[in-house]
């Protein structure tokens, strides 16, 4: 009996060991590390970065990773000024930003930006021209688009947002955005705003879409992982992590982890498209 127990114990231990071994493969490089890593910037990145940080901190509690939003512009600025270790951006850093700060960019995911409405909104499909007219304020009522009567509430993001930049460039052809548009400060805030407003329309990173908001079919293409991946859905961009100069220490290991098989699996799990 005792022997049986011992065998059972051993098997359990072995199983536990193996499972951690499988799991810990990519995390192995964080062994014997300690210290803090500060990450800020793009808000589209947050689901992935948060999960990666949680796994790393669970593996090695001596590592502290802090994650903040603020938008792509802020991420680039703060990493350039040395306030943080990794600055995330949902757009490529501009030429003058790269040269001014000596930035190095790492692209670890591809992300679509989808126009979203409230789930109860009967309008489910819009053409590019309609989208431009909505955002410039030419179309002001859902009735004009075959929906129920109601004044369209526009939602947009501030100028430093990478999500805004991509949507404005590729979704609106750099068209005007009406001055009566409401401003929200992050992808999360956009989701909260649209899920609350039956007459709202906004845009979020595809990774942030869930059942509380509905992604509108754009020019006949439904924005989802598949269409973004194949390039059929055109409003897409890379998700970048930037460092000042070549990354070292924890920052390098963190970026390597994001690009590892396990990191890329997190990217896919969170609704983005892996780059590897």
């Amino acid at each position: 009996m005792r022997e049986k127990n011992a065998v059972a114990c051993l098997t359990l231990l072995l199983a536990l060991f193996m499972s951690t071994a499988v799991f810990a493969n990519a995390l192995e490089s964080f062994k014997n590390e300690s210290g803090t890593l500060r990450i800020a910037g793009g808000t589209a990145h947050i689901p992935v970065v948060k999960e990666a940080a949680a796994r790393i901190m669970r593996f090695n509690p001596d590592i502290q990773i802090s994650i903040a939003g603020g938008g792509s512009g802020l991420g680039i600025k703060q990493v350039g000024d040395g306030l943080i270790d990794i600055g995330n951006s949902g757009r490529k850093a501009k030429e003058d930003e790269i040269s001014r700060y000596g930035l190095v960019m790492f692209k670890w995911a591809i992300d679509g930006v989808a126009s979203v409405v409230h789930p109860d909104n009967p309008v489910r499909s819009l053409s590019k021209d309609q989208m431009k007219d909505i955002y410039s304020g030419k179309i002001t009522n859902w009735q004009e688009l075959g929906g129920t009567k109601g004044v369209i509430n526009l939602y947009t993001r501030d100028d430093s947002s990478g999500t805004r930049e991509v949507f404005w460039k590729k979704g609106l052809d750099k068209g005007d955005i009406s001055s009566s548009a409401n401003f929200v400060a992050s992808n999360g805030a956009m989701k909260a705003a649209i899920s609350q407003d039956p007459n709202g329309i906004g845009y979020v990173s595809v990774g942030h879409i869930d059942e509380t908001i509905f992604p509108v079919t754009f020019d006949g293409v439904h924005p989802d992982l598949e269409t973004v991946k194949t390039g059929k859905y055109t409003i897409a961009r890379g998700l970048y992590s930037n460092t000042k100069g070549n990354p070292a220490g924890l920052a390098k290991k963190f970026i390597d982890y994001l690009l590892s098989d396990e990191g890329q699996q997190i990217v896919a799990d969170k609704g983005f498209i892996p780059v590897q």
Partner: protein, 285 residues
């Protein structure tokens, strides 16, 4: 306490007063210095009258100034009658136990973080406003209603304090003449507390203009001059919050200092105006 110790104490307190006083001046100088590129180019005054359209190279902050002003005044409009009524109840009219309880609740309210009000507003008030009016969830109305709640405790406590400062002998005189509670309030306490009421309003208005989070979360932040309470609007403070993440070298960022200077001057003028009013009110007494 020896003379020496007393001298040291005096010096310490003096330096504390000087430090806090000079910081105020220093901050203003700092903002002037950073806003200098705008001021020297003669852009500053055009900034105050133009619209915000970075793509067209226009960085005016007029819509934000209007937003700040409307939001603060609307908040005060909702909050003042509420606060005055509440203060009267707490100081005179209510039954003793309830007065005590209410005062404690109001004191507790001063400690509630703004973000809690913002959150409650976003999930309870915004949908309500949207249901009632059919539009304007994120709007001046929603933000000013929450703002009214935020600044009310400041005013209530100020008003209560000034009621309490009315000399006991005055109140006794009313009682002796058989005056009712309401008469006491209307003819003795209110006229003798004008000073304190004005001070309470100033502090509250200053707080309303300076508040960032409620405006950012509830007012919608659209860059236009609002035409109705149900319009979305952006205040100077939330504008600073939103543009802060723009490129340091850009004109957008530099225009923030114009906002800062305007806010500073606005508050300063506010304090001076109320001082002036107080001064005039006090003379005939």
């Amino acid at each position: 306490m020896t003379r020496f110790q007393e001298a040291i104490c005096e010096k310490l307190l003096l330096s504390a007063a000087w430090t806090s006083g000079s910081i105020v001046v220093f901050i203003f100088a700092f903002m002037l210095f950073l806003g200098l590129p705008l001021l020297s180019g003669g852009h500053f005054f055009s900034l105050l009258t133009a619209h915000w359209a970075p793509q067209q190279g226009s960085y005016g902050i007029l819509p934000m100034m209007a937003g700040s002003l409307f939001l603060a005044l609307l908040g005060l409009l909702f909050s003042f009658p509420l606060s005055l009524g509440c203060a009267c109840f707490i100081s005179v009219l209510g039954p003793a136990k309830l007065r005590f309880l209410l005062r404690k609740v109001v004191e507790l309210m001063t400690g509630i973080p703004t973000v809690i009000y913002g959150f409650v507003g976003l999930f309870l008030l915004v949908p309500l406003v949207r249901d009632i009016f059919g539009r304007g969830g994120l709007s001046l109305l929603s933000a000013s209603l929450m703002l009214a709640l935020l600044i009310a405790p400041t005013m209530i406590l100020f008003f209560c304090d000034s009621f309490d400062r009315v000399p006991r002998s005055y109140l006794d005189a009313v009682d002796a003449m058989g005056g009712s509670k309401v008469q006491k309030l209307l003819y003795v306490m209110l006229p003798n507390s004008v000073h304190g009421i004005a001070a309470g309003i100033t502090i509250a208005l200053g707080r309303a203009v300076g508040d960032t989070l409620l405006a950012l979360m509830l007012a919608g932040n659209a860059i236009h001059i609002p035409h109705s309470c149900l319009d979305s609007a952006r205040t100077l403070t939330s504008h600073i919050g939103l543009v802060f993440s723009a490129d340091f070298e850009s004109l957008e960022f530099k225009a923030i200092f114009a906002c800062g200077i305007t806010l500073y001057l606005f508050t300063a003028v506010l304090v001076l105006v109320v001082r002036g009013i107080n001064h005039r009110l006090r003379r005939p007494l």
